[in-house]
């Protein structure tokens, strides 16, 4: 397995804009979530949501990047200003996105006057799509724009799906290990606080239908988050990260045994475990994903930031994630620094 050295991280999450702030608020008993702050979801089955406070920084790319992608941009630039980056062809950008969603609001104008069977679809609305609608929804827009801004010409890519963060970390680690690049910037972001996502999660009972956070003991609170990590090959003073993945073919969440099997043999000397945050069977106090809400593809990086913050030098922790369809990932962090 390829390991990587963690140089630095930055994040944006419902409970804060740094790992230290998040841990301080969790220790004070806070749990993110409340009435959906991003749009009126009062008539939805899933009414609770957890959003990043405030807005992203003003950005000329706002027409192309979603809200949470703009937060991902912000934390990537934040961490990259704190580290030394290599020559262009030795720097790789790896992005992890939760889904390649055709966003509701973007094509609603195309749907409002459609016929039941979508006959005459072009004249009834698709001709009203923005000319750049397609380009605005490319899954790798953030990777492309970050590469331009940071002049990153090395090996990289965009991964999709609920465990995309773990996939991106693993791919970056392998590229570093074989010397394809010298530095990897791994950026993960996701938002489940979108109308179509809320409708689907509620319909299959994955998200909580509770009216208040205190009542939400089953099912997760949909949330949004972004995180960025700078990685190099393992070395003195750098926390060591390793990632493993597996799948069990389940259509929904994986069987618990799948995660247990993956974690076995990788938990030697571990003193802290960041759990999956799925809210089943109940909320786990102190757990980063439970406290912030379910953040999909951003989960693994958010958990690693928490481990880096909470562990003392010489200690180790595991970050566990599980998502539909049947996907699991385990990340281990051995703290140094």
């Amino acid at each position: 397995m390829s390991a990587a050295g963690l140089v630095d991280m930055a994040l944006r999450a419902p409970l804060g804009r740094s790992a230290a702030e998040i841990q301080r608020r969790i220790a004070a008993g806070e749990r993110a979530g409340g009435a959906n702050p991003l749009f009126d979801a009062s008539t939805y089955l899933t009414r609770l949501a957890a959003a990043i406070a405030g807005e992203p920084e003003p950005n000329k790319n706002a027409r192309i990047l979603s809200r949470v992608a703009l937060f991902a941009w912000d934390c990537t630039l934040e961490v990259c200003t704190r580290v030394e980056l290599p020559a262009a062809d030795r720097l790789g950008i790896y992005t992890a996105v939760g889904g390649l969603r055709a966003h509701w609001n973007a094509f609603m104008p195309a749907l409002q006057h459609q016929e039941d069977d979508l006959q005459h679809a072009w004249n009834n609305g698709f001709r009203f799509l923005h000319p750049f609608w397609m380009l605005q929804h490319l899954s790798n827009n953030l990777q492309a724009l970050l590469a331009m801004h940071l002049n990153a010409q090395g090996e990289g890519g965009t991964f999709g799906g609920a465990t995309a963060g773990a996939q991106a970390l693993a791919a970056a680690s392998r590229a570093l290990a074989v010397g394809a690049i010298d530095t990897a910037v791994v950026v993960a972001y996701d938002s489940l606080v979108e109308p179509e996502a809320l409708v689907e999660m509620a319909a299959r009972g994955a998200s909580t239908h509770a009216a208040t956070v205190a009542e939400a003991v089953s099912g997760y609170i949909p949330a949004e988050a972004a995180a960025a990590a700078v990685l190099r090959r393992p070395g003195p003073g750098l926390s060591r990260i390793e990632v493993w993945e597996s799948a069990d073919g389940e259509r929904g969440h994986p069987k618990p045994g799948t995660l247990i099997e993956l974690a076995q043999g990788r938990n030697g000397g571990v003193t802290l475990i960041e759990g999956t945050g799925l809210g089943e069977p109940c909320y786990q106090p102190g757990n980063t994903l439970d406290a912030n809400g379910h953040v999909g593809a951003a989960s693994t990086l958010l958990q690693l930031a928490a481990l880096q913050e909470r562990l003392a030098n010489g200690q180790s922790g595991l970050a566990l994630s599980a998502a539909a369809p049947g996907l699991v990932a385990v990340a281990r962090l051995d703290k140094q620094g």
């Binding site: 409002q112 979508l118 609608w133 490319l138």
Partner: protein, 409 residues
């Protein structure tokens, strides 16, 4: 660790399976036809390289997979509507069968896919007559077919028990998925990987979006031609079984080709246009050559989209990379641009070129643009001595991928 190909599966507008795909290319056939899977009559572009099936049903899948229709009973309606899901499993099944049906319990899946499929009729059903959302109509709905779904169905059908990697780098996704799959084996992480790409944007949202962009040609796709005016939208899949050479030899299965090297770079220039000096696209090819231990290749399957921007930059990249020009062709005039699956299906063309010692031509290329002059550019298919072949993919966003295959030894 050496990486070999033991199975190939292809679905394209030329037919279901690698044989109609290859035969069609060699016979100079084109897969462009009037769109039949939805009413595209009023769209600016009504033709595409569509797989010849209007509506995918469990019985259609059963007929083409020789599996019982009940196999597909658990599928959601959305899975059938999202055509790339079916194309992916057809191609995966063909590849797996050709490879001798290996046990895939520990296999990885590395898949390049495009946009999630939006079930527009379901969204539309949520609107009241005034065009406002009426949530009372939102009884269990599947509004999207997540991109994960294709990987799930492939893993379910073939009992793939290992991790999945889903690549979403636009038009370079398929090539990157192949490079990633090969690296998992060469870097010792896996012994067997199912990888490739599948995509279909031939639906109202995909066609509408591309039409608004002005990307498709109103006539035909003419890669490298001075009259080129856009791409031909295509759909389909190409899936491979990759193994370590030792694993394949131990199983006693035929090796079709070997993956000798790959390179992935990023233009870091513009999100919607390639770097005009072709430096980074050339670098991807050079990385692949270096890792393969080669100075050149005999045949190169170009990205060759038939757009004004891509083709001259790609020609510059090829001319600046190779001191001995390879034979070059683009198959996008024939099978269209398969978007996230393009790199994969074009690598399939490379593998079959190695197997048959023939090179496909560039359909509809008649007058080579001076800006796209390539010494080895082929208009028509021909016999050729091909020991090594490269496939290149250049995606929106500036991602570049190059993968090199060699004849099995």
């Amino acid at each position: 660790m050496r990486v070999v190909i033991t199975g190939i599966g292809v679905v394209s507008s030329l037919g279901i399976g690698q044989h109609p795909f290859w035969d069609g290319l060699m016979q100079g056939q084109g897969g462009g036809r009037p769109i039949q899977n939805f009413d595209a009559s009023a769209f600016p572009i009504g033709r595409a390289a569509e797989v010849d099936v209007a509506r995918i049903t469990p019985s259609w899948l059963a007929a083409h997979t020789t599996l019982p229709p009940a196999t597909f009973s658990p599928w959601d309606v959305g899975d059938l509507l999202d055509r790339k899901v079916s194309f992916g499993i057809l191609a995966a099944l063909e590849a797996w069968r050709q490879a001798g049906q290996p046990d895939l319990e520990s296999a990885w899946l590395s898949l390049g896919v495009g946009l999630e499929y939006a079930r527009l009729a379901q969204f539309e059903a949520l609107l009241d007559p005034a065009g406002n959302i009426d949530w009372r109509r939102a009884a269990p709905q599947q509004l999207r077919v997540p991109a994960d779904r294709c990987g799930l169905r492939i893993a379910e059908l073939l009992s793939i028990g290992g991790p999945q990697a889903l690549h979403c780098s636009a038009c370079a996704s398929g090539g990157i998925a192949m490079a990633h799959g090969a690296s998992l084996i060469s870097r010792g992480r896996a012994r067997i990987v199912i990888c490739g790409g599948t995509d279909s944007m031939i639906n109202p949202l995909g066609l509408g979006g591309m039409s608004r962009l002005g990307a498709p040609s109103p006539t035909v796709c003419r890669p490298f031609d001075r009259r080129r005016d856009g791409l031909l939208m295509g759909e389909g899949a190409a899936i491979f079984v990759l193994e370590s050479a030792e694993h394949a030899q131990a199983r006693g299965v035929e090796i079709i080709a070997e993956i000798l090297g790959s390179g992935v770079t990023q233009d870091a220039y513009k999100a919607t246009a390639p770097r005009p000096d072709a430096q980074c696209s050339s670098q991807a090819m050079k990385h692949a050559l270096t890792r393969a231990g080669l100075a050149g290749v005999d045949y190169l399957n170009a990205h060759g989209t038939g757009t004004r921007l891509n083709d001259p930059v790609e020609a510059l990249a090829i001319n600046s990379t190779f001191s001995h020009p390879p034979l070059v062709s683009s198959i996008k005039g024939a099978v269209g641009h398969l978007m996230a699956a393009s790199g994969a299906i074009e690598l399939a063309a490379c593998a079959l070129a190695l197997k048959h010692q023939q090179a496909p031509g560039t359909l509809f290329l008649e007058q080579v643009d001076a800006e796209c002059a390539l010494p080895g550019l082929l208009k028509t298919p021909q016999d050729a001595k091909i020991r090594t072949a490269m496939s290149t993919s250049f995606g929106f966003g500036g991602q570049n991928a190059a993968v090199i295959l060699g004849r099995s030894t």
